[in-house]
């Protein structure tokens, strides 16, 4: 991996600079002394041909040169020793510190003051430059950290890399810890929490070090590092969540595909069984009552099993989003009549009361799906309401929508369960007997209604029983005035 390259040396230069500071200063004193030796030699050599002011310039030049390179101590040392050498070797009487001429005292004092002033000014420039360089290094270190952390693929890798960076930046005692616990408080250490929206992810602990101004810098760097690590952790977690979701979707898709294939294959033999059973039943006028009853059972149970498989298929298809709605303008009464005529055999001992006004707005729906919705609702009514009781189907218009209610006189569904019965495989309290239900019927109803941007709910019925109401958006009012006029045709 490209990010596995060794950590950049730039991040460590500050540390090395700090260590090297002391020895550099020692070298500085030597350089200061050497410079003074050189300037004094030159001055001594040119003295016979020059005035005192020229010699003073030569000495000053040495002090200024040193002050551009070294700190206040070395510069001051060079300026003072340079001034003394100037006095000793150049100001008459030569080879003595005495200055009988008061003008020479003025020259000496002036030179010393100018040298010190230049040292002081240069010191400011040097500090600014150093601060600028430090800030640049900090930025680079953080960039490097972010870049490295953005390429990790696991929390372990993130930890190792971040730890490595922190040790380079803050010394070997820097410590990274991923925990939601509070960091321990120790006087010699500075701790910085790594947080994501007030949620603790861990902390960094570094040894207190350096002078006050450096500490402020380190503090800034520490806070920024903690932020970068928090970002990287968050990114990693988001990536994990996305991967998990992807796997879950894949599993769900495979399961649906399997269910779909299996149920489809089950339908083929079932169709033969049912037709064969009905054939035997049709020719069974010569058979005895128990045989007829057995044959009737074969046919009815195959029919029921077919219904269950159909529901299972629909549930998986609707859930996986693989259903393309085949919408057409439909009249709900029309669809209700279609279902009633198909279920007429099983509804023969019920009184079905249909109340759908003729002027009910039409809906743009997939007729096959709405048909299945109605079949499921009516089958529930048949299953749970006592034989002989009435089933009511009512339709009414609402603003931009059409509602249909299917009501029965069964045990009803308690308010606490009215939402849960729509969940996959959930069975209501009253339904937990061996009644042939699967807990899929209402799930499909809801999926169908939602696919049509509608709503479905179970409502309380004052006089007992269950009332299921579904609402579908009504299609734009049919421009019936524009319908082709009645015309004679000889079809």
């Amino acid at each position: 991996m490209s990010s596995a390259r060794p950590f950049d040396e730039r991040g460590t230069s500050r540390l090395r600079a700090a260590k090297a500071g002391a020895s550099a200063e020692r070298v500085g004193f030597l350089w200061g002394a050497l410079t003074n030796v050189v300037t004094t030699t030159i001055a001594f050599w040119v003295a016979p041909h020059a005035q005192l002011a020229h010699l003073m310039i030569i000495h000053l030049l040495g002090a200024v040169l040193i002050s551009t390179r070294y700190g206040m101590a070395v510069s001051t040392f060079t300026a003072v020793t340079g001034a003394l050498a100037f006095d000793f070797f150049c100001i008459p009487p030569v080879f003595a510190f005495a200055m009988p001429d008061p003008r020479n005292v003025l020259s000496f004092t002036g030179m010393l003051l100018v040298a010190l002033l230049v040292c002081w000014l240069n010191q400011g420039v040097r500090q600014q430059r150093a601060a600028a360089r430090a800030s640049e290094e900090r930025t680079q270190a953080l960039c490097q950290l972010s870049l490295d952390l953005s390429q990790v693929t696991s929390a372990e890798e993130l930890f190792v890399r971040a730890q490595c960076h922190l040790r380079e930046l803050f010394g070997e005692q820097a410590e990274l810890c991923f925990t939601s616990a509070e960091p321990p408080v120790e006087p010699d250490f500075t701790t910085q929490s790594i947080v994501d929206h007030d949620h603790a992810l861990g902390y960094i602990r570094v040894k207190k070090d350096g002078v006050a101004s450096e500490r402020a810098d380190r503090r800034l760097l520490l806070v920024a590092s903690a932020d970068r690590i928090a970002d990287a952790l968050k990114l990693l977690q988001l990536g994990d969540a996305a991967r998990r979701a992807e796997v879950a979707t894949e599993v769900e898709r495979n399961r649906n595909a399997l269910l779909s294939a299996v149920s489809h294959d089950m339908k083929t033999p079932l169709a033969s069984i049912m037709t064969a059973g009905s054939s035997l039943l049709a020719s069974s006028w010569k058979k005895d009552a128990p045989t007829r009853e057995l044959l009737e059972t074969i046919v009815q149970e195959s029919e029921r099993m077919n219904g269950l498989i159909t529901n299972l298929l629909s549930a998986t298809r609707l859930e996986s989003g693989g259903v393309v709605l085949n919408k057409e303008i439909e009249a709900l009464d029309d669809l209700v009549f279609g279902v009633l005529s198909r279920l007429s055999g099983r509804l023969s001992d019920r009184e079905v009361d249909v109340d759908i006004p003729a002027d009910l707005p039409m809906v743009s729906v997939d007729a096959v799906l709405i048909d299945q919705l109605l079949v499921n609702l009516l089958e529930n009514a048949l299953r749970y309401a006592p034989s002989g009781s009435a089933i009511e189907i009512r339709g009414f218009a609402e603003t931009d929508a059409v509602s249909v209610e299917v009501c029965d006189r069964g045990p009803g569904i308690p308010a606490a369960e009215r939402e849960r019965v729509f969940e996959k495989f959930y069975r209501g309290q009253a339904a937990r007997q061996n009644d042939g239900g699967t807990g899929l019927g209402l799930t499909i109803c809801r999926a169908v209604v939602q696919a049509h941007d509608g709503k479905i709910a179970i409502l309380s019925r004052a006089s007992g029983g269950t009332k299921v109401r579904f609402t579908l958006p009504s299609s734009a009012p049919a421009p019936f005035a524009a319908a082709p006029s009645e015309r004679r045709t000889t079809a």
Partner: protein
Amino acid sequence: MIPAILVIEDDLPMRRVIRSALGGQGYHVWEAGTKRDAISTINKSVPQAILLDLGLPDGSGLEVLKVVRERSEVPIVIISARGEERDQVLALDSGANDYVTKPFREAELLARLRAALRSAAAYAVPLDEHLEIGPLRIHPHERTVYLNGKEVPLTPTEFSLLQVMARQAGRVVTHRHLLREVWGGSYVQDTQYLRVYMRQLRRKLEQDPNSPQLLITTPGVGYRLRVPDA
């Protein structure tokens, strides 16, 4: 003449069941399990009716349908599974006469087959001969309809709609077919007209418009004018 029925179905057990059911009614049964077999059988001799499964191992039943329709108006009943409504409609609009959805009872299959054979015969009836379907008597020439002997006043569109269905009584008629025949080719998408006129027709012809016994809805496909004991 004993009618010969060609059963085109790839599932052997299902074919066996159908063979037994049809045989019990005195039909001759020819069988084909693939598209190739079916087409070669038809090339040799055209049966009196065809039962056609849409899902064949070597192609779609729709292709067989096309081949048959190129040479013959023999009644074709589609055998299909639930969830294949689109293919059903496609088959019906491509010239199939009716369909039956798996799983079906023997009685349903026989009823569809009889209706298909009968309406093939009905097409042979001159256009202006009157039709009798259950309680209905339709006089195309006078454009009058009698329900249990009493005349029912229908608007011209209502009459056309009923007439199209009556000529294919017992068989499903697709929305597209009804719209084309009654309103004309440019109205085949306008199912809302159909809904409105079907509602009016039911109000005039059904004993209880809230429990239709004559004009039956087949969701997603079309309408069927029910023939008693069929």
